[in-house]
Point group: C2
Chain length 353, copies 2
């Protein structure tokens, strides 16, 4: 995403400063896990969105950098715990937190087997906890803004954002144990709004509030850009679900079968199931959520899931259209800033990782 290049450079610089600060205070194994996530690149979508929204309302991206670093740390905290919950061993082509923890336990403490795994899981839980706290603390490095602005960002992060996001994750876990008959589209959207949209909304709103120098609460354009980003988030998650099944394992850096094995209640699966006949339905439900599904099972599930692709793509495109509709009505002084946000929304669908 070339149009984000300048933001990306800023973010990489800010993140590297943050990592050296952490290396001085965070216990070595916890630090290694934190570094594995926030040092490993990733798309840096959230901090770039924050900086883009700050500039879109006439603010200075550089001054908002600590908040951009904060949201990226926040995002990675949720990933570390998510990977524990989903038992995923790889992310972005590298060992996840609990896997890395287990390896460190073996290397430095001579642990083996279950004991090493258990140690890895403890370390990943604690590393996520550290990162959650430091994400919030990072906001205090914002300079030159009124206290009320900083306070409003901290309060929203530790308040609605976290409750919404974690409720969404909990719903994701719960729903994977619910029969498909008990699930409907509003439930799936509700889950995505929490799990994915909540943080993108926060990024856009926080960036705008900083750009305007106003607290979140009374800032209309922060609210509207938040809506824009929440809709982009829905499209992002739908695309993620598609890539999780049909994407290139090498490019995404994690096994593409894991959503099938976890039985994730995605819109894709819901729509695919709706177009299955009774026999296909039965077969699909046998495989979907089977922890030890083999390659042949996965392939059949993938074939059946392909029936849901068109409907998912349509929904995804409606979300982007709605987002762009919101953007059109907003007063954004610079054309270049506006076109960055348009490109951002469109990239939700166009991306291949």
């Amino acid at each position: 995403m070339d149009y984000l290049k300048r933001y990306l450079d800023l973010v990489e610089r800010g993140m590297s400063d943050e990592l050296s600060a952490q290396s001085r205070v965070v216990s070595p194994h916890l630090y290694s896990i934190v570094k594995q996530y926030i040092g490993a690149g990733g798309k840096r979508l959230r901090p770039c969105l924050l900086l883009a929204c700050c500039e879109a309302v006439g603010g200075d991206a550089e001054s908002a950098l600590p908040a951009a670093i904060a949201v990226e740390m926040y995002h990675n905290w949720t990933l570390i715990h998510d990977d524990v919950i989903d038992h995923d061993d790889f992310r972005r082509g590298r060992a996840t937190g609990h896997r890395l923890g287990a390896l460190l336990g073996t290397k430095d403490l001579g642990l083996e087997g279950d004991i090493a795994d258990d140690y890895g899981q403890s370390a990943a839980i604690l590393a996520g906890d550290v990162l959650q706290a430091r994400a919030t603390e990072k906001l205090f490095e914002l300079q030159g803004f009124p206290d009320a602005v900083v306070l409003s960002l901290v309060r929203e992060m530790t308040g609605s954002l976290t409750v919404d996001l974690l409720n969404g994750e909990q719903l994701d876990v719960e729903m994977s144990h619910l029969a498909f008959e008990k699930i409907d589209e509003p439930k799936i959207s509700g889950m995505m709004l929490g799990k994915t949209s909540a943080l993108l909304r926060y990024c856009a709103s926080a960036g705008a509030a900083l750009g305007c120098g106003e607290p979140l609460e009374g800032c209309d354009i922060a609210r509207d850009l938040g809506e824009f980003a929440a809709l982009c988030g829905l499209a992002f998650q739908l695309k993620d679900d598609l890539l999780g099944i049909f994407g290139d394992e090498q490019r995404i850096g994690k096994p593409v079968g894991s959503d099938i094995r976890e039985g994730k209640r995605t819109l894709l699966a819901y729509k695919a199931l709706a177009s299955c006949d009774a026999k296909e339905r039965e077969r699909f439900l046998q495989i979907y959520g089977l922890r030890d599904a083999g390659e042949a099972d996965l392939e059949l599930a993938r074939q059946l899931l392909s029936r849901g692709v068109e409907a998912t793509q349509e929904t995804m495109e409606s979300c982007v259209s709605l987002a762009l509709g919101i953007l059109e009505k907003l007063e954004i002084p610079s054309d270049s800033a506006r076109s960055k946000l348009v490109a951002f929304a469109e990239s939700m669908v166009a991306r291949d990782l």
Copy 2:
């Protein structure tokens, strides 16, 4: 602890308000876990210390109540994740978070066996995460204090406090895998200063800062009362280690063998080992840290551990003396407030749960 009765009543009222607020926004299973911890009583030591320190410097306890509730929530967040890490099934005589989560998964989602356990663990991780965030958010309910005071409490909570505490927990886990030869008293103290003292220090300092209406950084009495509380914390942890081995299972509400099975590197174990002969030492090391140690094993370990009791008690009493020495030099306007803090320090040793 009768002298804390008035504070305790305040805290119970504040906590019940907080629980009703959470019941409206937090997902039901996560809320059940949160409620199991913060609704279940416990000693409420930390919020009472905060309120006592607020009054000791001439402040109004009632106005500091949101901070008292915040530290109790914070403490319980760490307990939920701790219980996952230590695989403890009971706390305060009730199911721990992951156990309760598993039971809810069975009741509401029909889950069984490993799947239920796994669900319970996910829910406990997420519930702890919610509580960590809301503990910080709770500080924003402080009314009538300058923004700079509230900001300083939030910043310290999400900064040094959390890093120190989690580093201490990590050290606790790491050390349980280290041979006793690689451990010394400073290492054990360092672990206790993080795992236990850091939060007590925060409680005392935050209470004093609120009582003075000053930010934490420049407030001398907040720093000194923090030192007092950190020393009390060491005594508290040493007593906890004693109760964990020799206490009344019914009263403490958790199995007394768990520290032995986890192989906790306590001062008690360290001192006991120092007075064992070679044969006893060998036997002790076979049992200590054995996950499936039987009753006879536990009894033998307990016998050997009793050799460390005297030295542990001496250290505990020195910590209390040092704490009282700090208190003596402080200017505390009210005698009744001072005597409450003296009673607090003495109760670290005298308690039986």
